[in-house]
Symmetry: C3
Amino acid sequence: MTVGEELYKLVAELYPICRSITGDGVRRTLEVVDHEVGLVVHEVPTGTAVLDWMVPREWNVRDAWVAGPDGRRVIDFRASNLHLLGYSVPVRATMPLAELKRHLFTLPERPDWIPYRTSYYAERWGFCASQRLVDSLPEGDYEVCVDTTLADGHLTYGEHVVPGGSDEEVLVTCHVCHPSLANDNLSGIAVATRLARLLGQGRPRYTHRFLFIPGTIGSITWLARNQDRVGRIRHGLVLACLGDPGPLTYKRSRRGDTEVDRAVAHVLASSGRPHQLQDFTPYGYDERQFCSPGFDLPVGSLTRTPYARYPEYHTSADDLDLVRPEHLQDSLEAAWEVLQVLDGNRRYLNLKPKGEPQLGRRGLYGSIGGRSDAEERQMAMLWVLNLSDGDHSLLDVAGRAGLPFALVAEVAGTLEDAGLLRRTDR
Amino acid sequence: MTVGEELYKLVAELYPICRSITGDGVRRTLEVVDHEVGLVVHEVPTGTAVLDWMVPREWNVRDAWVAGPDGRRVIDFRASNLHLLGYSVPVRATMPLAELKRHLFTLPERPDWIPYRTSYYAERWGFCASQRLVDSLPEGDYEVCVDTTLADGHLTYGEHVVPGGSDEEVLVTCHVCHPSLANDNLSGIAVATRLARLLGQGRPRYTHRFLFIPGTIGSITWLARNQDRVGRIRHGLVLACLGDPGPLTYKRSRRGDTEVDRAVAHVLASSGRPHQLQDFTPYGYDERQFCSPGFDLPVGSLTRTPYARYPEYHTSADDLDLVRPEHLQDSLEAAWEVLQVLDGNRRYLNLKPKGEPQLGRRGLYGSIGGRSDAEERQMAMLWVLNLSDGDHSLLDVAGRAGLPFALVAEVAGTLEDAGLLRRTDR
Amino acid sequence: MTVGEELYKLVAELYPICRSITGDGVRRTLEVVDHEVGLVVHEVPTGTAVLDWMVPREWNVRDAWVAGPDGRRVIDFRASNLHLLGYSVPVRATMPLAELKRHLFTLPERPDWIPYRTSYYAERWGFCASQRLVDSLPEGDYEVCVDTTLADGHLTYGEHVVPGGSDEEVLVTCHVCHPSLANDNLSGIAVATRLARLLGQGRPRYTHRFLFIPGTIGSITWLARNQDRVGRIRHGLVLACLGDPGPLTYKRSRRGDTEVDRAVAHVLASSGRPHQLQDFTPYGYDERQFCSPGFDLPVGSLTRTPYARYPEYHTSADDLDLVRPEHLQDSLEAAWEVLQVLDGNRRYLNLKPKGEPQLGRRGLYGSIGGRSDAEERQMAMLWVLNLSDGDHSLLDVAGRAGLPFALVAEVAGTLEDAGLLRRTDR
């Protein structure tokens, strides 16, 4: 099984679970992730004040359906958890079609798809269904059952930490609050889980913190409870929508030129992949919270097709057909390379800064002069020596030299071993 | 009558008057403007030292003509005030054609047009005429009459102030020194007059000062007499050539990135109008003086086709046919919008800067989640909240968000009312 | 004889000499330059520590050849000094063809050309020859004679100083270490020699220092011995490859925006010549040393086709046919203009900064107003006045005004004479 297939398997395993911003669906999801990589699961009580918000009541679903005039279920939560408006309050009633329709959500322009809709903060019930189904409903009385609970409980999120040599942190987050949506939600969970496992196989420089959190209220809750830790975050990535066939897309942090912004740009450009770079906007995923002005963290967002830009977004068509193993794997590889660049982006000081040091004497330079083809490795050494003045990181060198980061980092190690460079960062 | 027609009517009323940098033509022009909007008229005596200059003698014209060998007037000031070289000294003489021609100015490449020429600072007399007319003159003796006075008197300019909440000022200027030239000169006067009247209907934040001044010597005189006031000028616009069919053109201030530069760029870009932005040059209209290095004021210049870039410029073809009501109105609307942006360009501080405040609870956010269409107003609120960190003005927000300034300003008010923002400027 | 022909004559005179990084070829070359312009010749002993390097043993060649099975010389240093691998150690031996070939260097893709190769820092002997010749060698025993000396001696370089009004310096360098290569090496020597002679005819503002040095080890040696003088260098140019038909190419200094970078860009752009501007790379000629991070001097490199980018580079085809008098002259003129711009790039302060001074009263402005054609000289005066605020040099003015530097400098002098400007630099 390829890595992509393994990622896809995890997506498929999580797909049927009915997640929301609270409730047992999140818990079951975190159990699956915990089994993969180990999680600390936090439960935050309803009513806890978190920044400008409050942890809402916990929502759980036993069943939900609409039965037609002939008594048969015409809309059934068991067939698709998208059918139920998220956070619907309980109801049991009979009503004519016209009144029922005031509670139905459809996508007229995609008549076969079920939309995904929620009403977290206004008490309401409703069902989502395909336009075609709603159009076929005969007049008559309908029985409605929303068998949910909305009660004091908890908001649940999971955290996984890979300890590094430093207590400075890289934050990787994904949201775990959408029901059966494969690309939006599950692809990010799968890639984040795998990244955590890969990092755990080594000893990174930075401590890496992975958050599996409900969108918006989850990141707000985490931020509220970790305000003392926020200052340690050096770089961060919000992961989502990583399984669709679109090109990789990076949305810059609010600051726009942080190290993670430049690292992702370098990885995407030097890979030759088609890709897009976008400026920050205060909409999308949890970068909205991490990049709010009171935090302004160096956190960008990596997706394939971004938020709301693919037709299947927030519909029943964001399913296990939309997500493909090869795209998940490609996304994982890019994210992994970004983490590697960040972890390896050292600063060095040239210890022989006056003129070039004599590399030939140290066996680092070809002995036959006069050739016109300077090999890439030799150029990388000259660039590292020339720019290692305290002002440039290896990523700066790679960018200015137009050379791959990995080569630049490797020759920096060689030059350090030769006594020509000294690391100046911690 | 449309606003454009009203502007045109004012241009037409002013058109016949023979203006120069001093004299009764300026006074009559200012009387007309005074009737529209109220003016304080200043008279500065000949010989007054103003910066590196001196107020010149006052020039007035009773009559001026050239009569041919048959005694008939071949060039006549009464037919067009452009015929007389501006500031011609008095003369009464008879001379052969060859000698006369040394005093004639023509435009060979536009044989039917009369050029506009002056000799303010060298004592000289002359006539301007069409090439065709000059070519038709027979040999013989010509009688020349320049019945002008050039004597101690005054330089005249007008000022109109709309008081604002602050003594910080917006300066709007136009030149009033050209004879019958409609686009160059009168269009600016008309638009400035109307802007002053519109502002007077409200209570702007800034004090707005309108200057109706002779070009060069007028602005130099005003600057010399108002050096203590210059420090209050926050923004300024020199208005000219606003009635021709060309696209709106903005010439940046010397500094190039002042608030007025950015405000005009935003208004022109967001309006979808074809337009041009040009860098400052030390030539053109009175921005030459306002942007001299000893003042370096944040003053740009708004025109349609700029200075000297249309064939009719400084000729008899810059007449009431060149200027059209719809262009005058379009120019007025753009200038008005610029003044509105400047006046409304506030800075706010987000009072809930950590994470997004819960807009839904305050009725500012749709309660149904999951939709992929974020409405513009909601985006505007998120942008204002995200960038209201003390470093960004509303114009910065509008620019970065790609949203109209008016919408951004409106939602800022809404958010301020909701207690989420506090104004940080005066 | 044109200047270009004179430059070519010097190239031709130097062409036959067998130069290397040390030895009598360098001395003979410096004698020729000394005859043209006067040189101080420095001899630095073998073993002298220079920065991270050491002055190597001195190398001289008496003869070198390979004789074939029939006893006739098949490769002969006397036919081309490129035949001998630079710094070959002495050898006298007989060997079969296969063994000989391990010491032969060819250019398979250019079968008629002899490559230029060296082995300065690894003890080795070898011959360079055309691929065609090597292919034609019959099997059999070959006699090899490398009659060289590699012994303690000196590294030799020449210096010529044109004293200026200031002890701040402009550095002009070229390399003198290549044998019969006309474009790479000799063209730079010829242009530098002529520049020195031209400068000596006047009294420049800056002291100009010309270095005729072996590449790499020569500049390292000069830098090591002149560390106290390096701080005086305000601008510098490395000259090479100035006789080929390619467009002039300027490689920026490491800092990228120094005055010499802007001066060369201005000269090349305003001349209308086709040309290229390239960013610094830590490869090429002695800018590698001058721009090492411990010195980081404002030194760029002027060439026609740059280093290693023409097929004849470092081959026997870089000969007296590749270099043409007209290209040498064009390069000289560009370099001369750059030195003139640097020397004349003054800063002035406008003494009448408030408003425009009245130029007409001083006879500096046309007396007939109203014309739409502002002449270039008048615009130059307005630009100089407007930007002479202490922050802008004349080169800044020329760049922002889009006017030739020479015109800007000339009107600055006129305005200074009129008492309107005062020089603010030394």
